[in-house]
């Protein structure tokens, strides 16, 4: 597997934009891949990128985007599944990295947008703004295919590798404090039914 920028760190990673990266990710999804978005701006930007039937938008349960995506990946091993979440969210559920590593679903990729802040509540700092490195935590938990995105092109390349190869994988992008491009419509049952239609599981 080609790692174009194998030695990227949080310090050397370019400062990217979540809205732009979400659109770049979604543009590369051609095979009805499932995308599970955690709460807050992660979720809003996925919504704003176009309401694909295979998108699931959490409305609470902070930290559970990765476990939900793991469940989808186990149920549908032939479908690629992406979990999108923020640094504040994954910091609440770091054990999920170990669970994913131990379960080793080939079809699961976790994408973390790291802006070092709880942006939606007033940009209070998270632990990633000081000492915690999400990629290092994930590797320590056993998720070996974990990388920082060096820039937009490298992010695209990492997504392409995830689509073509086996997981589980983690892609972490250092992002700015840009506002999301929209707001998710908060109708839980509609969200679930659309998602299940998209996955072909609605009875």
């Amino acid at each position: 597997m080609s790692n174009i920028e194998p030695n990227v760190t949080r310090e050397t990673a370019a400062l990217l934009n979540r809205t732009a990266l979400t659109r770049r990710l979604v543009a590369r999804l051609k095979a009805e891949e499932a995308v599970v978005a955690g709460i807050g701006h992660t979720n809003f930007d996925l919504w704003a990128s176009g309401q694909r039937p295979q998108n699931f938008y959490m409305l609470g349960s902070m930290g559970l985007a990765t476990p939900i995506a793991l469940g989808v990946a186990i149920a549908q091993p032939q479908r690629k599944v992406f979990a999108l979440d923020g640094d504040g969210s994954i910091l609440m559920q770091l054990g999920a990295f170990g669970t994913v590593a131990a379960t080793a679903p080939k079809n699961l990729t976790i994408v973390i947008w790291d802006n070092g802040a709880y942006h939606i509540t007033g940009a209070q700092k998270t632990l990633t703004s000081t000492t915690t490195d999400i990629v290092a935590v994930a590797k320590g938990a056993g998720l070996q295919q974990a990388q920082w995105a060096a820039d937009e092109e490298h992010f695209d390349a990492l997504v392409d590798e995830a689509l073509a190869g086996d997981g589980p994988r983690l892609i972490v992008a250092k992002i700015d404090h840009g506002k999301p491009a929209g707001v998710t419509e908060r109708d839980p049952v509609k969200i679930r039914l659309n998602f299940m239609n998209g996955l072909g599981t609605r009875a």
Binding site: A34, V36, F56, M58, L59, G60, S61, M62, G63, L64, A65, T66, P67, I68, A69, L70, G71, V72, A73, I74, A75, Q76, Q93, G95, A96, G98, T99, A102, T103, P188, V189, I191, R192, F195, M196, L199, G200, T201
Partner: protein, 174 residues
Amino acid sequence: MAGETTTETWEETVVRVLKANDVSLVSYVPDNVLARLIRLLEADPFFTVIAPAREEEAVGIVTGAYMGGKRGIALMQTSGFATIVNALASLACPFQIPLLMMISERGTLGEFQQGQAIVCRTMRPVLQSLGIEHFAIQERSQVEFVVDGMVRQAFATQAPAAMILSPLLTKRAA
């Protein structure tokens, strides 16, 4: 469904009823009372068994699997149930997920840890305030009827369900 036999343990009955209802994913955080059930589930290739770090993860995993077309159940102890309230209130309940939970009840009828006794008293008020169907199985003879009925109702009504394993079932001498 095959009839209950007197030689079956409660754990064997649970395994049989889960299989009969096509509940094939199990996610658990262990405790002593669940140990034999977990061994049976892990030994049976019908089941995919995931042991995450926290009970909340189990709620997420079972929820995702359900939406992906695979039925699952989360196993936990009373103290673990106390950690998942936000996930129930913001995920399982509003999204109408038939989240099956099997909770081994600690903290009553001979508990020695004060913390377990105190957290146990929060379980039923929480289940009631969230409007979650729950039933404590106390007798060996109730296992098949209760588990089968609660599993079927959860999927028929798109609602979470909590099957509580009372010490009367799991600790009392036969």
